[in-house]
Symmetry: C2
DNA sequence: TTGTACGCGTTATCAA
DNA sequence: TTGATAACGCGTACAA
């Protein structure tokens, strides 16, 4: 059974006590330059790596933040994570990344695992703002920050895009192009979708377009699901029952839908206009460059992690904070004007 | 200063000792049903979460595996990670995900952080098979498994695609289409690229096409870099000096290159044929559906993590293992036959 | 400036 | 079936 080198080994090799080694590694003060350098040299020779575990147990700090995303295969989330990583790393923290795949039980399970791991704080894109995971974090007084969702609770901090406005911008663009009969694909279980749909509704109302005529298709979040849903629809209802425009809850779903449409020989945007949401890095490069509503993803990760670390390290009990990010339309080639 | 509930608190509340609580939580044996259920109930009431930190310190196991990727924004790697997550989760482990961004120093730094965190094992897509990070892992006898790379060292376990064959398949396809003057974009610093290029060379040799006529452009791995490189090339050399076909080291780079070409009004595949590598999930959906060499990404993650956990948990000192995965060509629309 | 001794929260060992 | 006690490896008052 091989054991790793401990602080004790270094101490012996240097002929000093554990505390001296510890001071040499952390506390620059209260130690003579000579012994400090000698200890450091010996530690390096022995390839000593201080046990993060033991250190955390002692200091009650782990210097890690847990990041719990909904779908790691959707680059919306990895772009957010990239923003997180940037600021977190600069502050000396490590991020622990996991993904719930939109499964509430899994989200709860992973949250508890993060807490067991004693992360200093948690960044989460919650499936629902009132999920068990959120309740758990609140009751345990774990510093956390919601991303890509909102909460009515004034004690909860979050950063989110103005989804109603985003939905409105997108739908207004479609109605301005002359579309009257549309399909909205998303998940009514998610607040973000509901808000985007609310904006969609608002835009239609303004033009006096009845909502009853619209097709609302739900519970879809991931690319695969969008693909499967559209396949089912086309096989059941046929191409002829397609509306003139489709708005999806995010680009991943839009791409899945696009894939299905192409396989069924539906031309975009000639036969159907397609509008996404998020503006993920690939959106402009897919077969039909996707017109979509841009979300500031990287900034979302930056803001959330910056504020979380503030809360972790802040001495005074700071108030919860909320941030709204502005979306904007990015016009590409997936929508056409109706003649 | 708020403290979390510990095993001690539960013990007091239940009127038993720490050891009994511990047994109730882990060891089903050697404890009476009644006390066990009572303890568990009380633990639940107190929302007790055992400290993973303390447990790890005691058991010398963390039940986490570190996953160190090269580029988290390239979905090749997240697809591999998805494969890892699947088997790792089933075995009760958590994965700790990080990304080096092709930076050797960063790779080394992150490796040491993972070791400090006392992960039970490490899965790594190493930038180089002989990097400091790998040396470090070997010298410290940390169980690890290389993905997406090979090693001559018989003690090192790895899983990789047959890159030479992959490069050959791709280049042969291009030469069969009649291409004679090509451009190869990758990084000669990476073994995978060198191997793929070796296959490229082999295919050209078979047809008697001189290698000297080919343009070899290096150090490019990520989408952004591919985009920047092609921009520089076009601005310096002009569109007229473009070859008839471009082969890239991976799809991410191909997409970046495509982006640049489109902006310069170069038509794919009419003006230039473009061939990728990896077959990432988006490859078939980009503006010009990408003809590419498929790698079994998910399987790569599965094999590596399965074997790593075997090594971690295996009692007998198992030999190092090597796996070669077969690539195959996926023909889409980004290459054309030369008349 | 350095060393001693204790605490962090859990599991493992050995008695009872 | 239970409980007391010693690890696990590090940081840190407090003492020297």
């Amino acid at each position: 059974m091989k054991r790793h080198t401990t602080i004790e080994d270094v101490a012996k090799a240097a002929g000093v006590s554990k505390s001296t080694v510890s001071r040499a590694l952390n506390n620059a003060s209260r130690i003579s330059i000579e012994t400090r350098e000698r200890v450091l040299r010996i530690a390096e020779e022995l390839k000593f790596e201080p046990s993060h575990i033991a250190r955390s147990l002692s200091t009650r700090r782990t210097m890690t933040v847990g990041v719990l995303l909904e779908d790691i295969l959707n680059s919306f989330f990895t772009e957010v994570a990239k923003g997180v990583e940037t600021v977190v790393k600069k502050a000396g923290y490590t991020m622990l990344l996991t993904s719930s795949d939109y499964d509430l039980e899994e989200e709860y399970r992973l949250t508890r695992i993060l807490v067991r791991n004693k992360v200093d704080g948690i960044l989460i894109t919650p499936i629902r703002e009132d999920s068990k995971a959120i309740e758990f974090l609140k009751s345990r007084h774990i510093p956390f920050f919601m991303m890509n969702n909102k909460s009515e609770d004034p004690d909860v901090s979050w950063v989110d895009t103005e989804n109603i406005e985003g939905g409105y911008i997108g739908a207004k663009y479609l109605t301005d192009l002359g579309h009257r009969r549309m399909m909205y694909i998303g998940s009514d279980k998610l607040r973000g979708t509901r808000e985007r749909f609310e904006g969609f509704r608002k835009a239609l109302e303004e033009k006096g377009i009845p909502l009853d005529d619209q097709l609302i298709l739900g519970d879809v979040n991931a690319q695969k699901e969008g693909y499967a849903l559209m396949n089912r629809f086309l096989e059941k209802e046929g191409v002829s029952s397609l509306p003139t425009a489709i708005m999806t809850v995010n680009d991943a779903v839009a791409i899945g839908v696009l894939e299905s449409l192409i396989e069924h020989n539906v031309k975009i945007p000639e036969d159907v206009s397609l509008l996404g949401f998020d503006d993920i890095n690939i959106a402009g490069l897919i077969r039909v460059p996707l017109t979509t509503v841009h979300q500031p993803k990287f900034a979302m990760g930056e803001v959330a992690s910056y504020m979380l670390i503030n809360a972790i390290e802040g001495q005074a009990r700071t108030r919860a904070q909320q941030f709204l990010l502005k979306p904007h339309l990015v016009v590409r080639e997936s929508c056409r004007e109706l003649s």
